[in-house]
């Protein structure tokens, strides 16, 4: 029922677009053409800024590159607009790749600023190049045509624009619901989680950046052939800010937000241009003032944009339809025989300034054992886990995993080698469903690329991945809540969800940082049973935990740390009887 209703909303929207030319005059249709064109560029920003969290003020520069590429080719060389389209897309992708490689490594504040810098630079480039007509631009651009069929009229091109817009929106929608799309959605909220999932965050950032630029290039191609004229001023930094405003007004993070935002901003601008000259003689400046005020009110009152507000009144579409039947995903070969060392830490030392958080620690974790790492607060347990998973690099010492030295590998390579982890401070994507969060863990076991995801060529693999994710959710007891948002779970269950995500990676070594903290008694029992179960299936587990009852009943061996050094190592019973351990915990009273 819900699905039918949300489909109905979509159908009504499509029908409205289709009958618009019969209702409205040519002026409105022209306006709608521009709304569609801007919506394509804004869609790029929705993906990049709204979903991946990379703020860009330079999107208009990419629109400009697309527009100028086709304008230059069709005007100066008399070429076909269709070749011009290929040229526009190729050139924007090339420039975006170069700029992305140069600037996407910049952290935090600097990335948005660098987009302003190259946005201005590209504008100056347009204005100072003779072949592009300097500041007077290029005119006499031919209209788009297929053979004898010309899209010169307002209405013909209207259908063309909105059909293309509909297709790219559908492709983006598909992409976001696929393997690479989930990686994009997971970028926002810090790289620690991304890299621990064996996802190359730089590559995904670059891909989103280029994808957004391609949408801008497409928008620029339409713009050039409909405006029939291009000039640098149309693509300056103000235009870039306006595109960002569109993405934000509509609702950054919402695909439909691109169209809604583009419509609101374009119509508002049109109204202001009509009204302002009657009030003031400084219409240009006043427009900017009004836009600035709207911007600030928006950020204060409706940061999510318009679409989420509308969505509240619409049925929530059924998400993550479960696979009925799927072939299982391939599993990792576990090569280590029982008793053989899976992980060997040799003299690992990590200093923060004068403090040695981990000081010459050595021990081994053997295949198919559960090793407990305990010690008082500040003993260096979490730092040691960070050394194992590659988040931190030791000052001295080596860490060997299944015979390979992983001391200097980045976290994602270690994760890909078969080490999955949970975090002491839970790192989930609260706005993604439980199923999507677990699917993130499967990233390294699946192959589908961006194009396969957008074109839905990944469905067989996707069904297998979903079946596997659901299986892992059921194992931790969250199977019937797969469609809920992760942020709505209580903390204890969020920890279990992290365990499910780690299991979904099919790891050889499972690294758990305080998995039982915040769990209820029954949940602890379930977790304990699950971990025992995993051990019999051949998994090796290292866990940090403060709940002594939980640890003593579960683990095979224990390593005790205190003030960064290894205090003791042995069987649970021996550790319990060890005087030094009692002293460390009870402060020498024992």
């Amino acid at each position: 029922m819900k699905r039918v209703r949300s489909r109905l909303v979509m159908l009504i929207a499509i029908a409205l677009v289709a009958v618009a030319p019969a209702i409205f005059g040519s002026f409105t249709i022209t306006l709608m053409n521009y709304i569609g064109i801007y919506a394509m560029a804004a869609l790029g920003l929705v993906l990049m800024t709204g979903i991946a969290g990379l703020t860009s003020f330079g999107q208009a520069a990419f629109v400009g590159i697309g527009a100028y590429a086709t304008a230059w080719y069709t005007v100066a060389h008399g070429g076909s607009p269709w070749i011009g389209l290929l040229l526009a897309l190729a050139l924007t992708a090339l420039v975006a790749t170069i700029l992305g490689v140069a600037t996407l490594r910049l952290g935090g504040h600097f990335l948005p600023l660098s987009t302003i810098a190259w946005g201005i630079a590209i504008y100056f480039l347009f204005g100072n190049t003779d072949a592009l007509g300097r500041y007077s631009g290029l005119s006499g651009i031919p209209p788009i045509a297929i053979g004898p069929l010309s899209f010169e009229g307002t209405i013909a091109v209207y259908f063309f624009i909105w059909a293309v817009l509909g297709i790219v929106m559908l492709l983006c929608w598909n992409l976001l619901d696929s393997r690479q799309g989930r990686a994009i959605r997971c970028l926002r909220g810090g790289t620690a989680l991304v890299e621990s999932l064996a996802i190359d965050s730089f590559r995904i950032r670059l891909a989103v950046f280029v994808l957004a630029a391609l949408l801008a290039g497409l928008s620029g191609w339409f713009y050039a052939h409909i405006q029939r004229y291009v000039g640098p001023i149309q693509f300056d930094i103000d235009a870039g800010i306006e595109l960002l405003l569109m993405a934000l007004v509509g609702g950054a993070g919402q695909i439909a937000g691109a169209v809604v935002g583009s419509a609101i901003v374009t119509l508002a601008k049109n109204v202001l241009q009509d009204v302002l000259p009657a009030i003031t003689s400084y219409s240009g400046q006043f427009e900017a003032v009004v836009f600035g005020v709207v911007f600030i009110i928006l950020l204060q009152k409706a940061r999510g944009g318009v679409v989420p507000i509308i969505k509240k009144y619409l049925p929530r579409p059924e998400q993550n339809v479960l696979p009925i039947k799927a072939s299982p995903l391939p599993r990792r070969q576990r090569t280590s025989a029982p008793g053989q060392a899976v992980l060997a830490i040799e003299g690992a030392t990590k200093r923060f300034g004068a403090l040695a958080a981990v000081n010459k620690v050595s021990f081994e974790v053997k295949a198919r054992e559960v090793l407990g790492l305990i010690g008082p607060n500040g003993a260096g347990k979490s730092t040691l886990l960070n050394l194992i998973t590659g988040v931190l690099k030791p000052n001295t010492g080596t860490i060997v995993f299944q015979g390979a030295d992983i001391t200097k590998l980045p976290p994602r390579r270690i994760a890909a080698a078969g080490v999955a982890r949970t975090f002491q401070h839970v790192k989930l994507r609260p706005n993604m469903t439980l199923l999507d969060n677990v699917l993130l863990g499967i990233y390294a076991r699946t192959r589908a690329g961006f194009l396969a995801g957008a074109l839905r060529l990944d469905r067989a693999e996707e069904s297998a991945a979903r079946a596997e994710a659901l299986h892992q959710l059921r194992r931790v007891g969250l199977g019937d809540r797969y469609g809920d948002l992760a942020g709505n779970l209580p903390l204890g269950q969020q920890r279990l969800l992290e365990v499910a995500r780690a299991l979904a990676a099919d790891p050889t070594l499972l690294v758990l940082d305080e998995p039982a903290a915040g769990l209820r008694r029954l949940e602890k029992q379930t977790l304990s049973d699950l971990l025992r179960d995993l051990r019999t299936q051949g998994m090796t587990i290292i866990l940090v935990e403060h709940d002594m009852e939980f640890v003593m009943n579960l683990v095979d061996r224990i390593v005790v740390m205190d003030f960064g050094v290894k205090l003791a190592e042995g069987l649970p019973a021996a550790i319990r009887a060890d005087g030094r351990v009692q002293e460390a915990y009870l402060g020498g009273v024992a």
């Binding site: 910049l106 504040h109 600097f110 630079a121 400046q285 950020l299 923060f352």
Partner: protein
């Protein structure tokens, strides 16, 4: 020529450094880069010219009023554009909110003051020379601000409170420091410093609405290169920027000089993301 590059470069570098210090004072109190810093400088120049040249007020009174207006704008920035986005710092929404506020003020200035650059009055009746007041005024202002901030931070209780907030605002709040009031005070202080930059550099930059984005960008470079929150880094990087820009202006000319500045800026950021000044922030355990 060399003398001209050096005196102009150092003077303009001092203005950039002051804008950088205004950025830093706001950043320390809120962890937000407010892109209204250049607008403050623009307001200092325009209001100075308005009060002294147009309205005919005495120089001292015009000076105080311009700084006071800068302080008020600083407080408005905090209330309108910073406080609402503090809860979601990771989304960089402050870039948008502060830029929007800067844009409003800039365009409003364009409407009320006009889009032409107007002259800034000469403040002292002294003959022109190699070390004219348009050169030494920014230097003096920069020196006064650095010494003043140093005294404030090291010698006064409120200065210690500022430092505590900058170090760890959460812990400072737990100690009972009135974090919000201190933040507003910081923004007022930054407002006055930014206005002072525009006022002292008025004769060189003129009273021009377009100075706002210019100073916002060139003032940010010393912050990024000098290390966020580091006043000394901002001064050193500001002076270097001023000299480099003037030299590039002479050697390759206007637009390519800005391209050169941007290129060097991006290259340095890629090579040393924590800034030139040193190790940057130590990791907190």
């Amino acid at each position: 020529m060399v003398q001209s590059i050096v005196s102009t470069g150092v003077a303009i570098g001092c203005i950039y450094a002051l804008i950088g210090i205004a950025y830093n004072v706001m950043f320390s109190a809120s962890r937000v880069f407010s892109f209204t810093a250049g607008t403050l400088g623009m307001l200092g120049g325009v209001l100075g010219s308005l009060f002294i040249a147009v309205m005919g007020l005495p120089v001292a009174l015009g000076f105080i009023l311009a700084l006071a207006a800068g302080a008020v704008f600083g407080v408005v920035t905090e209330i309108v554009a910073v406080r609402p986005v503090l809860r979601s710092l990771d989304q960089h929404l402050y870039v948008l909110s502060t830029l929007a506020l800067a844009l409003i003020v800039q365009q409003f200035t364009a409407i009320e003051w006009g889009t032409d650059a107007r002259p800034f009055p000469r403040l002292f009746d002294i003959a022109r020379g190699a070390f004219d007041q348009q050169f030494w005024l920014p230097m003096l202002a920069c020196a006064v601000v650095i010494i003043g901030l140093e005294l404030l931070y090291r010698r006064t209780l409120i200065g210690h409170a500022f430092l505590a907030i900058a170090e760890d605002s959460y812990a400072a709040r737990a100690l009972g420091l009135p974090e919000r009031r201190l933040r507003i005070l910081s923004f007022a202080l930054a407002g006055a410093i930014g206005a002072l930059a525009g006022f002292a550099g008025g004769e060189m930059l003129l009273a021009f609405f377009g100075n706002a984005p210019l100073l916002t960008f060139y003032g940010f470079i010393p912050v990024a290169l000098g290390g966020m929150g580091s006043q000394r880094g901002a001064v050193v990087a500001g002076l270097l920027l001023g000299l480099f820009q003037q030299a590039a202006n002479f050697l390759v000319g206007g637009i390519f000089a800005s391209v050169a500045v941007f290129s060097v800026f991006i290259i340095v950021l890629l090579a040393r993301p924590e800034g030139l000044a040193g190790a940057g922030l130590q990791r907190r355990v």
